[in-house]
């Protein structure tokens, strides 16, 4: 107990959690910074045949093969041409790492636990299944993603 808590103490200062905020179709999304390994520019992606449509393929990250999904495709948003700002956010999941393509990465913000609201009471819409909550920073609203759901669902559908 001691050890786990001590570890977290250094990271979360007084109930604040840091989130990496990125944009996708004009909406802002956030993921826990603890889960982010790195953010890379779009490199050449090798298509994987017969994979689910949102799986864009695999990339080589310093000798490691990492699957990459298009977040727009994942959310059934219309695809766009890649820009200079297109990034691949690589994050940790249970067994290895996964990349996701986002329109651009904005910043890292701190959100207090009390400023995070659940989304269950919004609607029963299917699109909410990947969400973890909604974070408020002043007037801004950042949709917080549940990465594990994103991946677990992907496996099932794949």
């Amino acid at each position: 107990m001691e050890s786990t808590v001590k570890k977290e103490k250094t990271i979360e200062v007084k109930g604040y959690t840091q989130f990496v905020v990125f944009k996708l179709a004009e909406e802002e999304y956030g993921i826990d910074i603890q889960r982010v390994i790195e953010i890379v520019e779009l490199t050449s992606i090798t298509r994987v045949p017969n994979a689910p449509s949102f799986v864009k393929g695999v990339i080589n990250l310093r000798g490691e093969i990492i699957p990459v999904m298009g977040l727009r495709e994942r959310f059934n948003l219309p695809p766009i041409e890649q820009t200079d700002e297109t990034r691949i956010v690589i994050f940790k999941v249970n067994e290895g790492s996964i990349g996701m393509i986002v329109d651009n990465v904005v910043e890292v913000v701190e959100i207090h636990l009390s400023a995070i609201e659940g989304v269950s009471n919004f609607s029963n819409d299917d699109s909410l299944k990947f969400l973890y909550g909604v974070g408020k920073i002043d007037e801004r609203i950042v949709t917080l993603l549940n990465l594990d759901k994103l991946v677990v669902q992907a496996q099932r559908e794949g």
Binding site: M1, S44, T46, A51, V58, N60, L113, G158
Partner: protein, 689 residues
């Protein structure tokens, strides 16, 4: 407080000790009076007992303790080693192996206490009475705790007692969250955080991990020791939003209550004291931890089992590796310098040097991954011993070349096929004792297991001096089974006939045992070995015995592959499955039942358009004058893959696509090309017809 690192050590070492035990038990059976071996067995039992005790695996400790008792008596000359004792000791070994496997898989030793084995050991000591010797108290009873009694275990009591001595209170706090609470884990975390400012948390129910994973309903219990009063804690807890109810049970209270003011006045002193107590508690926990870690489900620190595959590495090899890496850094700096000064004349020299280093580095890393086949071979003597007793035959197993090294990936896979082959030899190869004597053979059957390197392959031979394969009988059987017609059967060579034994339909549909005494799962062996990129051969002489030869590549991580191009994509096809490459004109493709085939030297070969199967995006449709076809083997059958063009042969490092891209059967893996791009490796077995 992380025990997992010790857990790994424990697993590695106990495996080694159990392996030793196995070997020595086999030895002592043949030399019952050899004190050295006996002492060695005693030492192993003792060491395992010690290690298990340290890790808190009390059942392992109990079992090994009982073993020690028996062995001690043997050492004192009060009991003679008999087959029965060796049998019981083997049972102990099996039990210990089960325990260790359980530890590997789940991180605890499980509930099975192998009472029968312990009893058998005690019976050796005192054959008449069922006396329970002076062993450790049965801790198992204590360990199976119910959740609601979770504060009553020894460990918690111990800490509470300490706390009371240190003038602290112990409370059992029951917290109920609001039903509308969204982030329960986060809320629970805040509660823990709040409590920690005032208290030392001893344990919680459900476990902290479960709470963090939101694996609880709305209530949870926390046991704490603290100097604070119930009122104060209650107030603080109710101050946290979404907390519906707080129930505090006093488990133990210090004799002297101090008021809040007093505490403020003497806060400095208190702080010092508190930290002292903290240390004490910590130490206490450390000691108790061993016992609690894996047995008591409600202990807060229960580590999730986390065991990885490990390879023990010779220090010299690591040094070599380190050396090469430093060389690599030097050459990197040199290349950077060249870039700066633009003296390109030096670059080719530097690149050559770099090439040499990377090749050596590759070699060195490969060596680190190598483990001796001994790891697999070790378990065979015991297996043959058991088999021989079971079959009532006399069999000697000779093993050669145990030190031969193979890649770790191969080691893990060859165990099963070898067991198949050895069982086969013992069961069907070696004749019964009577038969052997009648055939003028020595009473003892011999099985030789040999491993050696041959070029880039490792060869493993299983040879027996048994009856051998009756080729004529197999031939007859093949005709009866309708596998071949009588005319053709006559034309077949002995080798071709023996190959029938490896056919799945041949061995499983009909007991081949009736034909030749061969064929138990030989198809399985063949499939497995071929999956590993190896081959199986048989040499046999009727009446003299047979020899199964397995040839395997040294590693599975690096293969030779043919790179092919489809539109703009590159794919790798393992060279081992390619038979040949041909160019044909499009009009040579014929249709059979609407399927494309070609005729190659009178053989009809079905064609597969890879671009269609792999759904390759078309760029432009161009009239092709020639089709390039890669002909691949799948078992005995051939299939032609139509590709756009060939890029050449190349050594590739196989990498997995990872666990997140499963269910894509056409792809066997991926590799990284010279330019850093990823190319996919085709799974020929899945693609071919």
């Amino acid at each position: 407080m992380d025990m997992s690192q010790y857990l790994e050590l424990f697993i590695e070492e106990s495996k080694e000790h159990l392996q030793n035990l196995n070997q020595h038990l086999l030895e002592i059976e043949n030399n019952p009076n050899n004190m050295t071996i006996l002492n060695e067995i005693f030492r192993v039992a003792h060491t395992v007992k010690g290690m298990a005790g340290t890790m808190g695996f009390s059942k392992i400790a109990t079992l090994t303790h009982a073993m020690e008792n028996v062995l001690q008596e043997v050492r004192n000359g009060n009991i003679k080693i008999s087959t029965h004792i060796v049998d019981v000791l083997f049972q102990c070994l099996d039990a210990l192996e089960n325990y260790v496997n359980r530890v590997i898989n789940e991180g605890n030793e499980g509930q099975n206490d192998y009472a029968s084995v312990v009893k058998a050991l005690n019976l050796i000591l005192a054959p008449d009475t069922e006396q329970v010797s002076e062993q450790e108290p049965k801790e198992t009873d204590v360990l199976v705790e119910k959740a609601d009694e979770f504060v009553n275990d020894e460990y918690t009591q111990n800490i509470i007692n300490k706390a009371v001595q240190a003038e602290m209170n112990a409370y059992n706090i029951n917290i109920t969250l609001n039903a509308g609470c969204v982030l329960k884990a986060a809320r629970a975390f805040i509660i823990f955080r709040t409590l920690e400012t005032e208290c030392d948390i001893i344990k919680s129910e459900p476990k902290v991990e479960d709470i963090e994973d939101e694996k609880f309903d709305l209530t949870f219990n926390i046991v704490v020791v603290t100097k604070a009063s119930t009122d104060k804690l209650e107030k603080e807890l109710y101050a946290i939003s979404e907390v519906d109810n707080v129930g505090i049970d006093v488990l133990a209270e210090k004799a002297l209550h101090r008021t809040a003011e007093q505490r403020d006045n003497s806060s400095q002193v208190q702080d010092d004291m508190q930290s002292d107590v903290g240390v004490q508690l910590f130490q206490q926990q450390g000691k108790q931890y061993k016992n609690e870690e894996t047995q008591d489900g409600s202990s807060p620190q229960v580590a999730k089992p986390r065991t990885r595959k490990t390879v023990r590495v010779d220090i010299d090899r690591l040094d070599n590796l380190m050396n090469l890496v430093s060389e690599l850094i030097i050459i990197k700096t040199r290349l950077e310098d060249i870039e700066g000064t633009e003296q390109y004349s030096n670059s080719s020299e530097a690149i050559e040097y770099l090439e040499r280093i990377t090749t050596s580095l590759h070699d060195a890393v490969m060596k680190v991954r190598m483990v001796p086949v001994e790891m697999v071979f070790n378990r065979f003597p015991r297996m043959i011993r058991d088999l021989a007793r079971e079959l009532d035959k006399k069999i000697t197993l000779n093993m050669y070349g145990q030190e031969t090294e193979v890649d770790r990936t191969v080691i893990d896979e060859i165990g099963d096929p070898l067991i198949h082959l050895l069982r086969n030899s013992a069961d069907h190869g070696i004749e019964s004792t009577d038969q052997r004597l009648a055939n003028n053979k020595s009473e003892h059957g011999t099985i030789n297991l040999k491993a050696y390197h041959d070029g880039n392959n490792v060869v493993i031979e299983v040879q027996d001096d048994g009856a051998g394969i009756d080729v004529e009988k197999v031939r007859q059987k093949a005709i009866v089974k309708g596998v071949v017609d009588p005319e053709m059967a006559k034309a077949l060579s002995d080798k071709e006939v023996i190959d029938f034994l490896f056919q799945a339909s041949f061995s499983t549909a009909d007991k081949v045992t009736d034909v030749s005494g061969r064929g138990v799962g030989l198809d399985v062996v063949k499939t497995k070995i071929e999956d590993l990129g190896g081959i199986v051969e048989v040499e046999t002489k009727k009446g003299k015995g047979s020899k199964f030869i397995i040839r395997l590549p040294l590693t599975l991580a690096i293969i030779q592959a043919l790179m092919v191009i489809l539109e703009k994509e590159k794919y790798a096809i393992p060279l081992s499955s390619i038979k040949e490459i041909i160019n044909i004109k499009p009009k040579e493709v014929r249709l059979v039942q609407n399927k494309e085939v070609i005729l190659l030297r009178d053989t009809v070969i079905p064609l597969i358009r890879l671009d269609k199967v792999l759904d390759v995006p078309k760029t432009e449709s161009k009239e092709q004058k020639q089709l390039t076809i890669v002909i691949v083997r799948k078992g005995d059958k051939l299939t032609g893959f139509v590709v756009d063009s060939l890029l050449g042969q190349q050594e590739i490092v196989i990498k997995s696509l990872g666990k997140h891209l499963t269910g894509i059967s056409e792809i066997a893996g991926a590799t990284i090309l010279g330019d850093g791009q990823v190319a996919l490796i085709l799974d020929v077995n899945a693609l071919a017809l």
